[in-house]
């Protein structure tokens, strides 16, 4: 089910969307032909099954949604689930390809209120993530595997002593045996694990190979089986504990400096640079104080990190004292060793640290650069970009006002000749301006591809100078001839210097 559900999940995030009422299959190449690799429940009710040639499936079900199988992507999702589990539920989690996960829950279940509660919780999480899952808990890996994949219940809890009994009715394939052994079983008329287990071991090994015996032993718990647990990557961190709780800002500052130096060394060893750093202070009374700082570009500069953290030092309330502090890079990215740039580039390279300092003071989104957007409508021609982004210049044909009003304001008492003469007089904010000089019109058309009501809209812009020398940017809605282009009202949009 995993490949199918992964596709269903994808469309929720906005990519290609298989509609839920359309049967979905994935295909893989097998020799010369394409066969079905996974089949959604709807397709299964229509008679499709895994391994069926694609041409046949097409003939059976018209309008089938066919996707190429992506085993690598499936594996990545599985890996992420395993990592999540390793962080959340148990220290020992492993991937069982192609679509299974192993959890070692010995000594863990009681933390979640028992095995059943833990299983319910895992199922709930999977469902929220968009996956159907089945869980079996058993003393032996083989039994758990068999029950989870071939058992009847969604959650199967199997005590050790009942393992043999519970899996007895399941088919031999449930034992993870190879196709050859499974075929041999069928030829001998063996339909269940129970029958296999009841047979004498020696002839069994001779007939079906040693593999089957091992699998059988693993299922009933006669041999132990180990798996490679996934180890979630720990965020690079540095920690210090104190013999005496510290209280003063100076002491905290000192520790921040030490921690930053330690973290910087760790980051350097791993070839990483921090993008977000968290400082945790454990107080004597058990309370935890946290400071998080973000960085506009990856860095492992200890002095820079320390100075950013010191800016927020007043947010730490030491209470009765701090007994331990920990600094971790909660977000980091690869950062190669960099050579000191030439003298002229130095200030360029230092810019990120300034941006960080300002951003941590007033907020990340309030430090920015302006860049050009291709739009003739003046208020849409600028947009904010991240401080270190590449900026684009504006076209320079017409002068632009240094102050642009948030919204164009309507002006009154305008005297202007149609269709293309600048106004002779207008009044704005209670003051009348007599125009001495003017330039224009600069015609700007509405962007009908963005807003349908701008289909015919036209603005005619004029630069005007009044008798005191003040310069304004006025526009008239409409081209002065066709009433569909605007109602000929006048607006002020900006002020030149």
């Amino acid at each position: 089910m995993l490949p199918i559900e992964r596709f269903r999940r994808l469309d929720r995030t906005g990519r290609s969307e298989p509609p839920p009422d359309r049967p979905l299959v994935t295909t893989e190449r097998q020799g010369q032909r394409m066969v079905l690799a996974a089949v959604c429940p709807l397709a299964r009710t229509l008679g499709l099954h895994v391994g069926m040639p694609l041409t046949q499936a097409r003939a059976l079900v018209p309008g089938l949604d066919i996707r190429p199988a992506e085993p690598e992507a499936d594996k990545t999702v599985l890996m992420r689930l395993a990592l999540f589990a390793a962080r959340r539920w148990t220290p020992f989690a492993a991937v069982d390809e192609p679509d299974g996960l192993w959890f070692d829950i010995s000594g863990v279940a009681h933390l979640f209120g028992g095995e059943r509660r833990l299983c319910e919780r895992i199922l709930r999480t999977c469902r929220r993530a968009g996956f159907t899952a089945r869980i079996a808990v058993a003393g032996a890996t083989g039994a758990a595997h068999a029950l989870a994949r071939f058992g009847a219940e969604e959650i199967a809890l199997c005590p050790n002593e009942k393992a043999v009994e519970r899996i007895a009715a399941l088919p031999p394939q449930a034992l993870r045996i190879d196709q050859e052994a499974a075929n041999a079983c069928r030829r001998f008329g063996i339909d269940s694990i129970g029958e296999l287990a009841a047979m004498p071991r020696e002839p069994l090994a001779r007939r079906f190979g040693k593999g089957l015996l091992t699998r059988l032993d693993q299922a009933v718990g006669r041999t132990a089986e180990t798996f490679d647990p996934i180890v979630p990557r720990e965020a690079p961190a540095a920690a210090l504990c104190f013999l005496e709780p510290i209280l003063s800002a100076e002491a905290i500052e000192q520790v921040i400096g030490d921690l930053a130096a330690m973290l910087a060394r760790t980051l350097e060893q791993q070839g990483l640079g921090a993008r977000q750093v968290k400082l945790t202070c454990n107080r004597v009374d058990g309370d935890e104080q946290r400071i998080v700082i973000g960085l506009v570009s990856a860095t492992r500069d200890a002095t820079h990190l320390a100075s950013l953290l010191r800016m927020k030092i007043e947010q730490i309330e030491p209470g009765f004292g701090i007994e331990a502090m920990r600094l971790s890079a909660i977000r980091s990215e690869p950062l190669s060793a960099r050579q000191a740039a030439s003298l002229e580039e130095v200030s360029e390279a230092e810019l990120p640290s300034l941006v960080d300092r300002i951003a941590n003071r007033i907020g990340v989104h309030r430090v920015f650069q302006m860049s050009s957007v291709e739009s003739d409508v003046p208020e849409r021609s600028i947009h904010r970009v991240s401080p270190l982004a590449q900026t684009v210049d504006w076209p320079r044909e017409w002068r632009r006002p240094v102050r642009l009003l948030a919204r164009p304001e309507q002006v009154d008492r305008v005297i202007a000749a149609l269709p293309d003469q600048p106004p002779l007089r207008f009044s704005w904010r209670g003051e009348t301006h007599r125009i001495r000089k003017a330039d224009g019109p600069e015609r700007i058309y509405g962007e009908w591809w963005k807003h349908s009501n701008e289909a015919d809209a036209v603005r005619d812009y004029f630069q005007v100078e009044d008798e005191s020398g003040a310069r304004f940017w006025l526009f008239r809605r409409g081209d002065g001839e066709d009433p569909r282009t605007g109602d000929l009202s006048w607006y002020i949009h900006g002020v030149f210097g």
């Binding site: 130095v346 200030s347 230092e350 810019l351 640290s353 300034l354 941006v355 300092r357 300002i358 003071r361 007033i362 309030r366 430090v367 920015f368 650069q369 302006m370 860049s371 050009s372 003046p378 021609s381 600028i382 904010r384 401080p387 590449q390 900026t391 684009v392 210049d393 504006w394 320079r396 002068r399 632009r400 006002p401 240094v402 102050r403 642009l404 009003l405 948030a406 003051e431 001495r436 000089k437 003017a438 330039d439 630069q463 005007v464 100078e465 009044d466 008798e467 005191s468 020398g469 003040a470 310069r471 304004f472 900006g494 002020v495 030149f496 210097g497």
Partner: protein
């Protein structure tokens, strides 16, 4: 500027200059306006490592815009990145681009109040990697101004405070501050053109105060595409009234 006479008054003046600011003697790096008349009065140009204040001649939007563009022109002629600390969102970047300050050289920080603006300006000044910092600020204390002046002096970064008029109409330059120069920029009628059109704008540029120097006033052509001012080649359309008496009083205060 520097006189070599041994007149006791001159010696005293030199001492006072030395006390007022160590970095302001002839050796300080200056940014010339490249207009002889202006640079002559300023001793060669604006001191780079110092605080300068600019405001509109009146509260009218036209004068405010002229002051903004005047500031943008100075910033454009500085070397390196410029940090522009804003409070209102009406600054229109394409116009600064046309005044010689391309978007790639300009970093914006948007603040909620005067205190935040001052803190960010100081941050920018102390950092030392910027060419200049422009801050749009309404009101600030004498102490805050001194901090900025000190930060500018130590890092060699120019601080330009764009003092915008408030709704209540109080003159931003009414109170003294520790700025090295204070400017008042207003619009002036531009030159009459033989054809219809608008031409280059013209401003009244008033140097209200400068440390160890005299106030002055000019009528100049507005910034060109490289942020430069120019002396008008002819008389303007109409005579601009000479310095108003009320300004004289402020200057003397």
């Amino acid at each position: 500027m520097q006189s070599h006479s041994v007149h006791p008054l001159e010696t005293l003046r030199a001492q006072i200059r030395a006390i007022e600011a160590s970095g302001l003697t002839g050796a300080a790096e200056r940014l010339p306006f490249e207009v002889q008349a202006v640079d002559g009065k300023l001793g060669g140009g604006l001191v780079v490592a110092a605080l300068h204040e600019i405001t509109g001649a009146t509260s009218s939007p036209g004068d405010d815009a002229a002051a903004s563009l005047f500031t943008g022109g100075i910033a454009a002629r500085l070397k390196g990145m410029v940090l522009w600390v804003i409070q209102r969102r009406d600054l229109f970047a394409p116009a600064l681009d046309q005044a010689g300050l391309p978007p790639s050289r300009l970093l914006y920080a948007e603040c909620g109040n005067d205190d935040e603006v001052l803190a960010v300006i100081e941050e920018g000044l102390r950092h030392g990697s910027l060419g200049g910092v422009v801050g749009e600020v309404g009101r600030f204390t004498m102490a805050a101004g001194r901090r900025l002046q000190l930060a500018a002096e130590t890092s060699g970064t120019m601080a330009l405070l764009l003092r915008r008029w408030r709704k209540n109409g109080a003159d931003p330059l009414a109170l003294p501050s520790s700025a090295v120069t204070r400017w008042r920029i207003g619009c002036a009628p531009s030159r009459a053109l033989p054809v219809s059109g608008i031409g280059r704008s013209r401003w009244t540029v008033e140097l209200v105060r400068q440390r160890s120097g005299r106030p002055a006033e000019w009528i100049l052509e507005g910034v060109d595409e490289a942020g430069r001012l120019a002396l008008p080649a002819d008389a303007p359309d109409r005579a601009v009234p000479a310095a108003r008496p009320d300004r004289q009083i402020r200057t003397a205060a």
